[in-house]
Subunit: 195 residues, 2 copies
DNA sequence: CCACGCGGTTACCCTGGAGTAACCTATGTG
DNA sequence: CACATAGGTTACTCCAGGGTAACCGCGTGG
């Protein structure tokens, strides 16, 4: 019952609203009617902008993934040495979580409710993030193992974030990022020494 | 069309088979008929042993969670100093992942497909694991922060495991556990120093 | 040898929710 | 001012799949 909107604006609005609804309730517990209601519109309108529920959901994942990826990539690129890369990278990650936290829940929240294709998409995003992290890890170990550690660090950040976000706790991305970066950096050096 | 079984045996068999099916396809993409087929039986039989699909699924989560919890708790209890606790704890975790890896996927795989109640259960299991880990972390920091770091370490192990298990890679729990424990231990000391 | 009960099956009901066909109406343009 | 069209709605169709009622037959004990 909200006023009429030009198509592209409506599309954006639907995307905005959907992130929230899906993040809160997960894919399967959210009906297209729920989304429509939240957007103040009726179902067929959704289908004018997206082919299917899947399609809408994947668009959301894709956008969220892009925001995450660019945030981290930019931060890492702006640093000179490894330690600084680690710090800026983690800070950027946690800043993204704080700013865009419905998107975080959508991708990594424990409500995820994923099916085949969404799973693939999310795995890809995780893998890409890990890929961006991998160079931080000493280059003189087997690449396979390097990737494994990278996934560990992604999981580290994810675990911390999930805990904080799902409990609705506030946090300063810079402070948190610094600490987790310290942990990661010192940890990696230890692995390197003992490996 | 398999032969008849006494009720408790059938119940066990259903549980065994279900873990695999649900782990592979997730909750929503698995129908009760799928489970029944996999068990070589028909739907009503399932309902003689479990009240609902939910009920069956929760039973699986609960069992998997227990196995994880006891494995880690036992290992940690058998150690004397903090460093050894960390090592044995991670080794036990990765051994569990390797042995019981359908259960791992069920709890933490990227297919999870959870709804309200399952989410709660899994959060509880994660929180319990974190709780078991928390004492490893220097006691002279705020408990809130201690818990956050504990969740980070759980995420670290989870991220590593998910990467390996979902790619079907083999790994030696002892070697891997030692490395990740090194990482965690050195990392925590660094946080403590700089914090 | 018969009956009874336990393990099992067939065949159904019924709801939620994805997707759509047909229709309506505000708005800006000649 | 009429009318074209983009934006929106009402009122369906249709089916996957959770859950169940009613029935079947093997095997064991009286």
């Amino acid at each position: 019952m909200s006023m009429r909107l030009p198509a592209p604006a409506r599309r954006e609005q639907i995307l905005d609203v959907s992130v929230q609804v899906f993040a809160r309730n997960g894919f399967h517990s959210t009906s297209m009617n729920d989304v429509a209601d939240a957007a103040g519109v009726t179902k067929p309108v959704l289908y004018q902008h997206f082919d299917s529920k899947q399609d809408l959901y994947l668009a959301l994942l894709e956008e969220a993934g892009n925001r995450l990826r660019t945030a981290v990539a930019k931060a890492v690129a702006s640093a000179s040495n490894g330690k600084e890369q680690t710090e800026l990278g983690f800070k950027a990650y946690f800043r993204w979580v704080a700013d865009d936290h419905d998107a975080f829940l959508l991708l990594f929240g424990s409500r995820a409710n994923r099916d085949e294709e969404s799973t693939t998409t999310i795995r890809r995003i995780t893998a890409e993030t890990a890929h961006a992290i991998a160079p931080l890890i000493a280059a003189d170990i087997e690449p396979e193992h390097q990737r494994t550690l990278a996934h560990g660090l992604v999981g580290l950040a994810e675990g911390v974030s999930r805990h904080l976000v799902e409990r609705g706790e506030l946090f300063d991305p810079n402070v948190l990022g610094q600490q987790i970066a310290d942990l990661a950096w010192a940890g990696l050096r230890a692995v390197h020494r003992n490996g």
